[in-house]
């Protein structure tokens, strides 16, 4: 309670990050340039700012999010899943769930949208130099993993072994299928795929993701585990990682919550005193353990 002597936690407790300049509520007018149907319920949208100069100078860090607006319907928060090196567009993958995502799914090339970005913190990859990185993505949770994985692979020489375990319910539920052959082939990535139940023609692992992870049994030595997926998957995957002796500091995940402002004010994405929109969405398991259990 000594606010006079030090900066409040809401200011000093936050990491340095790129943030949206100017009026943070004013979306950047943008246009959809590509729509990819990933699965029956997931579509990927590539958008560009209408202001070319602003697009060129836009920077963000992997893991940061954007608020995508369809005017008349509203806006929702999605991770920017293109890597920061991709300067031509911002990519969002959207699962059909509610009103706003229904409106987003109706978008086609040339449609006008709004983007508020970048918001939130990012993966602490600067602390990972020289370490092995084990990425784990479940279903739509592959979106944030994609941005950080592509970023890390671009700088693969700075890290040790880079692995990916990507699981979905069925082969049809895997997003970024067109990229998977490359992920399987490239020598700098050890990629494992899994589905929940056997399917005809499936040549990869079968089983629930946490079980497949135990089977792979990655060493926790000098290794960071980075995971994202549905809450139930995160829960059991973290349990498995803890069993394999990963420390809470070396387990990194990203969260999502219902959000409106995205800038730490409107009051609905908080977990205790932490706001997923500014203190997150990226948290270590250690941080999450110290927070009230209200996920």
């Amino acid at each position: 309670m000594d606010a006079k002597t030090s900066l409040p936690r809401m200011v000093q407790g936050l990491s340095e990050r790129p943030s949206m300049p100017g009026n943070p509520y004013l979306p950047i007018p943008s246009t959809v340039i590509n729509v990819i149907s990933e699965t029956p319920r997931i579509k990927t949208f590539q958008v560009v700012f209408d202001d070319k100069e602003r697009m060129e100078h836009f920077t963000f860090e992997p893991g940061q999010v954007g608020q995508l607006s369809v005017f008349g319907a509203g806006e929702s928060t999605f991770v920017i899943n293109s890597p920061p090196s991709e300067k031509n567009y911002l990519q969002f993958s959207v699962m059909l769930a509610g009103e706003v995502t229904t409106a987003i799914h109706k978008l086609s090339v040339g449609d006008k949208v709004g983007v508020r970005a970048p918001l939130g913190n990012y993966f602490p990859y600067k602390d990972w130099a020289g370490k092995n990185i084990f990425f784990i993505g479940g279903g739509i949770g592959m979106a944030p993993i994609r941005t950080i994985m592509l970023h890390v692979l671009e700088h693969a020489k700075d890290y040790g072994k880079i692995s990916l375990l990507y699981g979905a319910r069925t082969p049809q539920d895997l997003t970024y299928q067109y990229e998977i052959p490359n992920w399987l082939e490239r020598p700098d990535l050890d990629c494992t795929l899994c589905i929940d139940v056997p399917a005809p023609g499936w040549e990869h692992k079968v089983g629930l993701l946490p079980n497949v992870l135990k089977e792979l049994n990655p060493s926790p030595d000098n290794t960071v585990a980075v995971l994202c997926g549905p809450p139930i998957m995160i829960k059991f995957t973290v349990q498995a990682l803890v069993e394999m002796k990963f420390t809470p500091e070396s387990i990194i995940t990203t969260l999502e919550k219902r959000m409106k402002c995205g800038i730490g004010i409107c009051g609905r994405c908080n977990i205790g005193g932490r706001y997923v929109c500014v203190d997150g969405p990226v948290f270590s398991w250690k941080e999450l353990q110290s927070l009230p259990q209200e996920l």
Binding site: M1, A3, K260, C266
Partner: protein
């Protein structure tokens, strides 16, 4: 000439008229009739009556309107290429110079509490900032405490300056009412210096006496130093919160009447392709609604009213203090006086401290109940001008009585009359107890 000014009751209209002449919108407490009489801040015009009663609704809307436009949007077709559309977004940051007249120190402190998240975080809220910068708050210090208010519990007092630009204190005067105006900020000092009011230096002593007398009416306060830790310690104890909110009907009145609640929602209104376009609105929202946190998947982190009340009380007494260093409560007591089922946040906080094994010195009193104000000291709900306006209730608590007619227990802090007396007096309040989670506290 000193910085203090002297204002007689009959000169209030000309003082307000002068503020208006400078281009200010002047918000004053106004009696609003309806099924239930209430006092709300409305723009004052020459000839309007002036009340100096504590308003039913705080002046929060001066900086955070219940609904405001953030952005307007419009899509138009490109006349040269009909396959193309262009999107026009216009930000609508606007503010007019505003003076809030005769709010109370708890309302002004509410604004000071809003200042933290809206102006001191990593993002500054331009809509709030614009209004805040053009706002001057003239607070009338209270002559006494009341049944439901508890500013002194949370670091305030009947003449606390936080959030006010000018403090105004009633002093004894023959045949009339008179006030001393004390500048608190540079803005307030400038406003008073420019005014035609007389020097108030000679009555500063009276002002100090009046303030001291007001402070003396307050009941002993519990020590809430441990509140942030203890309320946080109760987090996992969901049965405690379920018990505290048994009567809650999730109406959200506590949040809408609160000078420090600042949650909002953002919604779009109107189609972008329509002739007039549409607008993106920000509106007050309430964390007491189950929809507040419900996600599109159907998952809800706060599915029951127990989790929601836990969030509200924790925010005010644990997590906001953790983030900003002060309680997010100014002790105005509106959430108590306006609650249709008689929930009392003071009790919830004290119960939480007791539940977590804490203590609130001094353990002199059994119940956290401010002493009844001496009738003479009670803030008067009287109009300055014109006299013919509606017969005003005599006391601040008239409003509480009016409500009492509809819901007899609404303002009742007596545990014996509340619908669900769940704790025995022994286990309550200031007495340090280690409450056990047993069935004994249930009815």
């Amino acid at each position: 000439m000193s910085d203090y000014r002297y204002l007689q009751e009959q000169d209030i209209p000309s003082f307000l008229a002068a503020l208006r002449a400078l281009g200010n919108r002047v918000l004053v407490p106004t009696l609003q009739k309806g099924t239930k009489e209430s006092v709300v801040f409305t723009p004052w015009q020459e000839g309007d009556p002036v009340l100096v009663a504590k308003a039913t609704v705080p002046a929060k809307a001066a900086v955070l309107p219940s609904c405001e436009t953030l952005v307007t949007y419009k899509k138009t077709k490109n006349p040269d290429n009909y396959a193309e559309t262009s999107l026009t977004l216009t930000e609508t940051v606007e503010a007019e110079p505003t003076v809030v007249f005769a709010s109370r120190p708890c309302d002004a402190k509410g604004i000071a509490i809003l200042d933290n998240p809206y102006t001191k975080g990593i993002y500054k809220d331009p809509y709030y900032m614009a209004k805040r910068e053009k706002l001057v708050v003239i607070s009338l210090t209270c002559n006494s405490g009341c049944e439901t208010c508890f500013c002194h519990w949370v670091g305030g007092g009947p003449s606390s300056p936080e959030g006010s630009d000018i403090l105004m204190t009633e002093i004894p005067a023959e045949g009339t009412k008179a006030y001393v105006l004390q500048p608190i900020t540079a803005k307030g000092k400038e406003m008073l210096a420019k005014s035609a009011l007389k020097d108030g230096e000679s009555v500063v002593a009276l002002m100090n006496e009046a303030r001291k007398a007001a402070f003396a009416t307050l009941s002993p306060k519990p020590d809430l130093t441990e509140a942030p830790q203890k309320v946080a310690a109760c987090f996992a104890n969901l049965s405690f919160w379920a018990q505290e909110t048994e009567r809650c009907i999730s109406c959200g009145a506590c949040t809408y009447f609160c000078p420090t609640c600042y949650c909002f929602t953002i919604t779009d209104e109107g189609e972008p392709t329509s002739a007039q376009g549409g607008r993106r609105l920000r509106s007050w929202d309430t964390c007491m609604s189950s929809l507040f946190t419900r996600e599109a998947s159907g998952h809800n982190p706060r599915p029951s009213k127990a989790e929601r009340m836990r969030n509200r009380v924790s925010h005010k007494f644990a997590t906001y203090p953790e983030n900003w260093g002060i309680f997010s409560c100014s002790g105005c007591g509106r959430c108590i006086s306006q609650c249709p089922v008689g929930l009392d946040i003071r009790k919830i906080v004290l119960h939480a401290i007791a539940e977590a094994g804490g203590t609130v010195h001094p353990p002199k009193q059994e119940e956290a109940k401010p002493a009844k104000a001496a009738p003479v000291q009670a803030p008067k709900l009287e109009e300055v001008k014109p006299a013919k306006a509606a017969p005003a209730p005599k006391e601040d608590r008239a409003e509480a009585r009016a409500e009492g007619k509809q819901t007899p227990s609404a303002n009742d802090t007596e545990p014996a009359r509340s619908p669900a007396p769940r704790r025995t007096a022994k286990k309550r309040g200031f007495i340090k107890t280690s409450l056990k989670k047993s069935g004994t506290r249930r009815r």
